[in-house]
């Protein structure tokens, strides 16, 4: 396997050459500092670009073209990464040796058409297409509460700090949706193409020189961008007394969310001891939370913790019976306190390291894993994954305890299941 990075001025091209895959995967990432009021616009924009283009007048025509190119997959997603919003367009196509000469190039031209030749007239997107996309977006927004886990996480983060990017709803906001029109959306599109930072990743078996030419030919950005702001959010002072917020919904199960911000830490502590601390706390089916809250007390079916390094926090979530709320919260608090006192075994650290090493070993087995690895190295400032494996193996118990002492429960949110059986 070979990794080649080329600074093309207006974008960085990352090429990962490997013979492991029969496909070529291309991912173009647009990233820019997040603005709450622009999230909805961003979602609508990325959706409308996949509705039609100047050459393909309908979504059906686009899908048929993709099918003709031996089922090329083209999709997009928008997510927040720390202080940034990232919109990615992903293309996956079979290598020409399994289809026909020139098919990959045609697939790249297809993505070029989607990105650079949108379906516009008079400097505006088409009204009928925008209306369709806005309708879909409006429906998705109205169904927000149907996914009780997602909704609980949103409300937890809003309770924690409604002004922080952490709490921004990535699904968007109805009030912002109504402000979008054909013209201002097109202006936003031009701005994204012109001003966003761009990274392009390609993974597969190809000749780097040919690939560079093919990318240059199809993905051209004019401006060289200025220096970036940092991805990581600033530390926030932890509340002296934890904030407890509750909301009732007509559900059988209650969802509990707990947010623990990190106090100031050095990069080493965030990249290594804290990662192991989270695996031990609630990273999987062998974690302390799983063993205690689920296996010992039977309070829940699912419980886990997630570590968001760029947001500088750990979030714990569980699905429980509302009657068990206080007992569950007490047990979670106890588990965390016991860990801070160093009440865990060397065996727990060994398991956490093994699981981490396994995830490192799996990176090369999937094109998307490879892309997210090189993206992390690029923007999060990680060491290479081979270096990380070595460093992680040397992390001590003392360092893990030290990291654990820097997290504290700040905000608790209970989405209380309030099912009235007569309903």
């Amino acid at each position: 396997m070979q990794y080649i990075k080329k600074n093309q001025g207006s974008y960085n091209l990352h090429m990962v050459r490997t013979k492991k895959f029969k496909t070529i995967t291309l991912k173009i990432i647009f990233h820019t500092p997040i603005v709450k009021e622009d999230i909805t616009k961003r979602n609508v924009l990325s959706d409308i670009l996949l509705q039609s283009t100047s050459k393909y007048s309908s979504k059906r025509n686009m899908i048929i073209e993709a099918e003709n190119l031996y089922a090329v997959d083209v999709y997009n997603n928008t997510q927040r990464l720390g202080n940034y919003i990232m919109t990615s367009f992903i293309l996956q196509v079979l290598n020409d040796r399994y289809t026909e000469e020139g098919n990959v190039e045609k697939a790249f031209e297809f993505l070029n058409e989607i990105l650079f030749h949108p379906d516009v007239c008079n400097n505006s997107f088409r009204e009928d297409k925008l209306s369709l996309v806005k309708n879909n977006c409006r429906v998705a927004l109205s169904e927000l509460k149907e996914d009780t886990y997602d909704y609980c996480m949103i409300r937890l983060k809003e309770a924690y700090d409604k002004n922080s990017p952490v709490s921004y709803r990535m699904i968007g906001y109805v009030e912002d949706l109504e402000k979008i029109d054909e013209h201002n959306l097109y202006q936003y599109y031009l701005n994204m193409i012109d001003s966003d930072y761009v990274d392009i990743f390609v993974v597969g078996d190809f000749n780097p020189k040919d690939m560079l030419e093919m990318v240059k030919k199809n993905f051209h950005f004019r401006k060289v961008k200025k220096e970036k702001m940092k991805y990581e959010l600033d530390n926030k002072t932890v509340r002296k007394r934890r904030l407890i917020a509750k909301e009732k919904e007509e559900n059988n199960q209650s969802k509990l969310g707990i947010l623990c911000p990190l106090s100031k830490m050095k990069d080493y502590e965030k990249n290594y001891p804290m990662v192991l601390a989270n695996i031990i706390l609630g990273g999987g089916v062998d974690s302390k939370l799983f063993k205690t809250v689920r296996e010992k007390y039977s309070y829940c079916y699912s419980i886990f913790s997630s570590y968001y390094k760029l947001d500088q926090m750990i979030v714990i979530s569980a699905g429980i019976d509302k009657e068990n709320y206080s007992k569950t919260l007490k047990e979670i608090t106890d588990v965390l306190n016991q860990l801070k006192k160093g009440k865990f075994q060397d065996k727990d650290i060994k398991i956490a390291k093994e699981l981490y090493n396994n995830s490192i070993n799996s990176i090369e087995e999937s094109p998307m894993n490879l892309i997210s690895e090189y993206l992390s190295e690029e923007i999060v400032g990680f060491e290479t994954y081979k270096e990380r494996e070595k460093i992680m193996n040397k992390v001590s118990k003392k360092e893990i305890i030290h990291a654990l002492k820097k997290i504290k429960i700040d905000t608790v949110f209970l989405l209380e299941g309030d099912k009235n059986e007569e309903n």
Binding site: K19, K20, K22, T23, S58, K59, R60, I63, I64, E67, N68, Y70, A71, Q92, L94, Y98, T99, D128, S131, L132, N135, N136, R138, V139, A140, S142, E143, K145, E146, T148, E250, N252, Q253, G284, V285, D286, R294, E295, Y297, S298, Y299, C300, Y301, S302, I320, D321, I351, K353, E354, L355, Y356, N357, N358, N361, S362, E365, S366, P367, G417, N423
Partner: protein
């Protein structure tokens, strides 16, 4: 072991059946670091009643799933999850209608993991205490699903489609049913269905075939075959139970579910080909590049869309689920499509091309390929090594004859609407 070439993905499947009846399917990948092991029994929630000696035995609903959870108890107190985690390996288990599988997947310690997976599934340990403990956990799992409107809609549709089929019941059972489960029930079901001649082992990824074969032979040498009990099934009727139902739920946007129960008695193609032609039909009618999808999309009649086929006994059932602001008009469009079927050669050939490309792509991922092979073993009791050839051989004449032999009249429809009238969402 017998070698079976998997055409199109350039892989070989090594097959053998041990003396005790355990079937082995090994698919080595030379270019991958990871592997995936699945040890499975053909026992799932479809088995509601069976003969135990001369008696008929009806365990509580949800017992196969409960049994899966309790297999993670060991007499020496060791936790299988901890064992696999210590080896940097992920593990899990799942129960479906027609199987229960135990899996582990990782990049190292293959030998230890394989041995352990076989041992822990071959050695149950149930006590009154550990059986009781699981009731709270599974109760919360059931509650979690009960809060998902799509799941409730699907279960309601199945209850309206099937008179007798076990598919009308939730795989996990109900809270009152699982409350009746005892360790004796679990042992009875385990001893009846967790026997080598009712099970198989599938391994895909980075491993040495001969080494794996020797480990399995050694681990299984003292495990005798058994007699799979006679399963007592009630024949499903051709009609549906209820043609229409409206549910009022705590949702914002209405949902629609349609089920069509189709008899296969007039079909002249084999089971795998039946699946191919049924999927081809609905991909052309309702797939993402269909005229139907374009029409309902442009008329703002469709937000989410999901479709699936299920086979039970001599029937295929088509499920279609959608979210729409106007479910009545959407239903009219679906019904129109079903009564005006016309398939062009161009579309038919294009979909074949897509399927063949997808088969080749599948070979890139060990877990995706494993999952396709697993489905083959469950559905067809063998793997289908020449999928691409069979797709290539599909033709419009057979498709049209196929269409003449089936009927879409046997339908059930469930609409789920908001409890309270909502403000208009549509612009």
């Amino acid at each position: 072991m017998k070698k079976i070439e998997l055409c199109g993905i350039d892989k070989t499947c090594y097959y053998d059946e041990l003396e005790n009846g355990l079937e082995l399917y090994f698919v080595p990948y030379e270019d991958k670091k990871n592997y995936f092991i699945s040890y499975a029994t053909r026992y799932g929630s479809d088995i509601l009643k069976f003969k135990l000696g001369s008696e008929e035995y009806t365990p509580p609903l949800g017992i196969a799933h409960y049994l899966e959870h309790k297999m993670f108890e060991e007499e020496n107190g060791e936790d299988p999850f901890t064992f696999f985690s210590s080896n940097g390996t992920d593990s899990n288990a799942s129960t479906s209608y027609d199987y229960t599988q135990y899996i582990c997947y990782g990049t190292k310690k293959f030998n230890e993991n394989l041995k352990y997976l076989l041992r822990f599934v071959n050695n149950p340990y149930f006590t009154n205490e550990n059986v009781e403990k699981e009731k709270g956990i599974i109760g919360e799992e059931i509650n979690m699903y009960q809060d998902m409107p799509d799941y409730k809609l699907e279960m309601c549709l199945k209850q309206n489609l099937y008179h007798k089929s076990p598919r009308k019941y939730d795989i996990a059972g109900t809270i009152s049913e699982i409350d009746r489960i005892t360790k004796e029930d679990l042992y009875k079901c385990y001893n009846s269905f967790y026997i080598p001649n009712n099970m198989f082992l599938l391994i895909a990824g980075n491993f040495d075939v001969e080494n794996a074969y020797n480990i399995v032979k050694k681990e299984m040498k003292d495990i005798p075959s058994g007699i799979v009990p006679k399963i007592i099934e009630e024949k499903e009727e051709e009609s549906v139970v209820k043609k229409k139902q409206v549910l009022k739920e705590n949702i914002e946007v209405p949902k629609l579910a349609m089920g069509i129960k189709i008899s296969n008695k007039n079909l002249k193609v084999n089971s795998f080909e039946q699946d191919l032609y049924y999927y081809m039909l609905t991909t052309i009618l309702f797939g993402s590049s269909s005229e139907f999808r374009e029409r309902v999309r442009n008329e703002k009649l469709l937000n989410d869309f999901y479709m699936e086929w299920e086979k039970i006994e001599d029937y295929h059932t088509f499920y279609l689920m959608a979210t729409s602001l106007d479910v009545d008009r959407l239903l009219e469009e679906i019904e129109y499509e079903l009564s005006h079927i016309s398939i062009t050669k161009n579309t038919f050939e294009r979909i074949k091309k897509v399927w063949i490309a997808n088969e080749v792509k599948m070979g890139d991922s060990v877990d995706k390929e494993e999952s396709v092979l697993f489905d083959d073993i469950i559905k067809y009791h063998k793997i289908i090594p020449n999928r691409i050839d069979l797709i290539r051989k599909m033709n419009l004449t057979t498709m049209n004859n196929f269409l003449k032999s089936i009927s879409f009249d046997n339908r059930s429809i469930v609409k789920m609407i908001p409890k309270e009238k909502k403000e208009d969402i549509l612009e």
